[in-house]
Symmetry: C2
Subunit: 357 residues, 2 copies
Amino acid sequence: MYHYQYLYDFTTQLFEKIGCSKEDATVVAELLVGAELRNIPSHGFLRIPDYIKMWEAGRIKTNPNISVVRETLSTVVIDADSCFGMIAAKKAMNLAIEKAKTVGTCWIAIKNSTHFGIAGYYAMMALEHDMIGIAMTNANPLVAPTFSIDKMLGTNPFAVAIPTQNQPPFVADFATTPIARGKLDLMGKKGLKAPLGFVQDKDGNPSTNPDILKQGGAILPLGGDYEHGSHKGYCMGAIVDIFSSVFSGANFGPFVPPQVPYLAVKAESTGEGLGHFLGAMQIDAFQDADVFKSQMDNWITTFRNSKPAEGQEKVLIPGDPERESEISKKRDGIVLLPSLEEDIKQIATKYGLEFKA
Amino acid sequence: MYHYQYLYDFTTQLFEKIGCSKEDATVVAELLVGAELRNIPSHGFLRIPDYIKMWEAGRIKTNPNISVVRETLSTVVIDADSCFGMIAAKKAMNLAIEKAKTVGTCWIAIKNSTHFGIAGYYAMMALEHDMIGIAMTNANPLVAPTFSIDKMLGTNPFAVAIPTQNQPPFVADFATTPIARGKLDLMGKKGLKAPLGFVQDKDGNPSTNPDILKQGGAILPLGGDYEHGSHKGYCMGAIVDIFSSVFSGANFGPFVPPQVPYLAVKAESTGEGLGHFLGAMQIDAFQDADVFKSQMDNWITTFRNSKPAEGQEKVLIPGDPERESEISKKRDGIVLLPSLEEDIKQIATKYGLEFKA
């Protein structure tokens, strides 16, 4: 069991050890510890060994030259120069917020980037400015389009955060697939079967084997199969991919570089690195912020008070589970898997640090 | 069998008869015939009797005063003054395109509107300007959030059109549910069962009865159930609802006024009419348009050439089925259901027109 502040300080120190500035290291720490707090462990400490090895392999820079390569009043394109994705994305979101103050909205496409952690973090940055925040990213190709057997898209998450008055904010942050890769892996380790509609085998047949990706299978888009609307999940994943890559000049779909050290960089490329797309929308550009936020309270109360189905305790608002997790984990501490603790201890020793429960 | 030009001329004349200007009547005709051509008959001639009766009941104005109520460099809010939704939405999309030429992007929220037809039409308006178009709308509440039994959201469609060089454009236009209401009705009329994951009964139990909505049931969000990610479909539907209503000041979720004459206007209201949200994004604000469009050709070719699953002929690109339908129906004609032909004939007679195959 770890106090989140301990994990935050440790992560900051570790990333300083590999050459990040103090400021950049704290951004990496915020994202990784934030994912643990919000109960998205697939984007938390689990990533540290991968991040460190990617840096050791020269695939991530700790002294990047992040630069604006194109700009209009309401748009920016940024070259992340192979930095840890969160460093470019946080800078970009701050820029989007500043520009949206003048012109109403701002939209930023980022190329030449790497894994940026949880999309919801950037979307939520807009809230305190009375803005809606939007964040999306493309990712390692694992998902087959409807009717295909090739892995062409990532689980391509999409996040939208919307400010409120007295209610907690509306924060949607979801992969455009029924399930994330990390949860499939966990099912496999536990010897569980995956429900139908999560994955298919190498020939495109429905499968319940959570390890099927290792045998040429693929994750399905949200919807599962064509009959249940998987072409709509495919559309969503495709839109996230195109906005993240074709706007910015990053690699698209199957050409997105793997964000794990054990998969080599691909021979063929259609752009530079991985891509993200972010947006900030000033509420006041559409509606008095107080009117909007009090109506959002009304929206949330109305939906929260809708009648639960038999056997269900309550109806949730997007962001509820993550916020409740953040409260309890800040209070009770964060548990890491023993195998992960071991990995982190080894990395700590290697870089002259200590890591202990 | 009808030639699309005949249907277009007939619709234009009919809507002129009830007081629309020639220009406004042609917009209604474009949307209704466009839906027929693109094989979305639920938004085509089927709507004419509803539209006319809604106007007869004084719930739609044919001489509206559509006005801008708020504006920044990259945003506009429009009051549609209870017009036929497509008239306000088309005007708004043209304005979005004009403003995006100067500032890079423009986003328009519309209140006090009514059913606007197929969302994809407005998104596609951006293509010839080398822009991405986005359109969404809220709608009659028929969909229960995950874990709920109350009908809180519409099937809330989301459309994105992306320009290309030589390939046909990417046009995604989809409801945020596994199925649209119209297709459920058709299953019921044919005596078919609905697949599991489309609807639930009044207590929230899975159902295969396509007529269950008449017995207190609800449509499920995309994903079907929680295990298969219906909370993600619920998030999408909620985002479309909030962008369409809370930005503009229209009614949200369960308060959206019914767009059919046989359902009364609700006693309780949280805003004015129905809402839409539209956007135009200039490609050149992010990337040289030629570079972007040729990369989109590359994207489309890559995805189209991905390997089909066993038993599947080909992998589709969003927009393919609708475009193919448009080509064949322009050539071969449009078939209307005999019962619908009868309804249209009666309306034609009432307004001094003739309607014949």
